[in-house]
Subunit: 393 residues, 2 copies
């Protein structure tokens, strides 16, 4: 079925239970669908842009209010929307990282943090993870000391992913930030997997900068996201242009250099705004989401040879599972090889696993109902039993 | 009328003839509307993202093909999509501009070019404009020489807006590029007001980098755009990460630093792609667009005291007009003051002029039918006559 002459209709989330690790938090709400239809056109939010001609000052649609609400939502002082969390990272590294500066990430940091630092010529140092794939305050302190020995000064910035993209494990941001603060290292909190799906309090966590992703966790179209800062840091990250051109003497008002002026002038922002009331409400249901996730995880654990590589019990709906000694064993002799597994899931109306993957893979149960979670759990055990794997109930 | 509980329905382009200077080229096509409905969800284009896990390699939807088509469309070698033209400028300045480097813009350059350069600590120098508000090859040569005298070396980069945002005037890019080439200065062609509405041949114009805006001129949602380069420059602007982390030894494949990895993972790209066949076709109708624009411009010129500040006859549908001695004179004694003019236009079904503006203002006739253009022309003369201004037909 075609959406246009050259583009197929996309119906993954209409026709399947989608457990794709990165997609589930970014599915639009019904209100966001309405908003993107109404505001689809290019510069659709600029109808009533007046002096000082900046996105976050627009009152109709209520973009200015949304910016205040966003800052409050993550308990920071100032917020801006950005074209994806990565552009938030970039704005912060542009401000604080110069060629040769040491910057701390973790052994589980997302690649976009690496690109932001590499783009500024920063030297990346990783905080090792513990055996349980957790970043600890002790490891942080040791790594800071190691950096000081190596560079003669502490790192200029620390990136912390509250829940990492590899395991969905919870890292003790507050305790790690406290260590960083002892060395006056500013902390960037990466909330790509938290902001919009669970409550986040940036100040309580000790963050100087809070970054979230609209398309990953705020039920918004891509690319969208949020960068929020403390009032102390806002003047640095959101510094405005000071250029006066040599011939014409032109100046450029209060455009912010790190954001390249306005950021999301249409459908992306409006989708984010329309979903926001629902997002504010849904973060309060995180416990139920975790219950659904753990139900599925327990079903997987009951299959002989299956190992949950993420911490257990789960504190996030994103989970890494190792089925090398269960479904992958089946794949070795199955006529469809590894494709038997994704195929069996698809037959049962489940999508979002890379076809052919039977060794180590990730899934995310976010946003499903408890009956869908129970159904998904039964799919896994049923596929296991049908293929001769023992299930220990 | 509400679109959601907190957001008003937007119906400017459904209910009015919109002559907003920046909006008209970014209105979605019907196919783009269909695509954004189908692909509204966050990471909607990632369903079939496989190794090497990069946006421009995705085959379904046909994103890889689209990238090839885009490069061909502007006659360059390699193209990438970016979250707005400004992010294309940023990727190029990140590559070529270091602290203290002189960078050339023009007296009519867009502010986002300034921000991109200022963000890298470049020193901006402007090529003056001629009396007719045109950038000339001679002025370019003189300014390059002046920069060499001042800095002891030529500028590291030249930004050229083919048609500028202030007047919509046509600047001789090809001839200016030829001058820059004599000094080995790479040329960034800013096609925000050309790519997607008129034919553009990057190589013929002598560009090293071609940047276009999806939401300004390619009937696409915001933020979107294109950055295309010659094959010689592609390896520099689209350089991939070389980081290997110190603890885990992690590497990050072929992610491109200047683009921060993937750029438009959903609705923005799909809108751009769905509109693309129509955009390819519509650039062939530029002459008709100019005829419509000139019809309106001639009507304005017929109103006593009205001056077209843009070059005449018009080579673009974006025009700057000075009505200080016509409509603004009326405003001085009108009970609605300056609002009489936008009000009279609104009564006639015309939107897109800043309410209250009667001195110097801009409008854009792009995308209207010839009968709409004739109607718009008659609106201007009718409003003039009704308010006691002579019209010389």
């Amino acid at each position: 079925m075609k959406c246009t002459n050259q583009i197929n209709l996309r119906n993954i989330d209409e026709s399947f239970i989608n457990i794709d690790p990165i997609q589930v938090g970014g599915r639009l709400t019904a209100d966001a669908m309405k908003a993107i239809i109404s505001y689809g056109d290019g510069y659709s939010v600029c109808d009533q842009c007046r002096k000082p001609f900046r996105l976050d000052y627009i009152k109709e649609p209520p973009i200015a209010d949304f910016h205040h609400d966003l800052a409050e939502f993550v308990n920071m002082d100032i917020a801006r929307v950005v074209p994806g969390a990565r552009r938030g990272f970039q704005a912060v590294t542009d401000t604080y990282v110069a060629q040769g500066d040491p910057v701390l990430i973790t052994a589980l940091s997302h690649y976009t943090e690496v690109l932001a630092i590499e783009g500024r010529g920063g030297v990346i140092r990783e905080i090792p993870k513990s055996d349980g794939d957790i970043i600890t305050p002790d490891a942080t302190g040791e790594k800071i000391e190691a950096v000081i020995r190596e560079f003669g000064r502490p790192p200029v910035l620390l990136f912390l992913d509250h829940f990492d993209y590899q395991y969905g494990n919870c890292h003790p941001v507050k305790e790690i930030s406290r260590v960083a603060r002892q060395y006056d290292i500013p902390v960037l909190y990466n909330g790509a997997y938290t902001i919009g799906i669970m409550p986040v309090d940036g100040k309580e966590l000790g963050a100087d900068f809070v970054v979230g992703s609209g398309h990953k966790s705020m039920a918004a179209p891509a690319p969208s996201g949020v960068l929020a800062t403390s009032s102390e840091r806002a003047g640095e990250v959101f510094r405005t242009t000071t250029t006066r051109t040599d011939v014409m003497g032109r100046t450029f008002g209060i455009k912010e250099i790190g954001l390249m002026g306005c950021t999301l002038m249409g459908v992306t922002l409006m989708g984010m705004m329309a979903s926001f009331p629902h997002v504010q409400e849904r973060v309060g249901r995180w416990d139920q989401e975790l219950a659904n996730g753990n139900l599925v995880v327990d079903a997987l654990r009951s299959i002989e040879g299956t190992i949950i590589r993420s911490e257990y019990p789960r504190k996030h709906t994103l989970t890494r599972v190792d089925t090398s000694s269960s479904f992958d064993k089946v794949a070795m002799t199955h006529k469809k090889r590894g494709y038997f597994f994704s195929g069996a899931l698809k037959e049962r109306g489940v999508a979002g696993i890379i076809p052919g993957a039977t060794k180590v893979w990730k899934f995310n149960t976010y946003g499903m109902t408890s009956s869908q979670a129970a159904y998904l759990a039964s799919c896994f055990t049923e596929i296991a039993e049908k293929n001769g794997l023992a299930v220990h109930r």
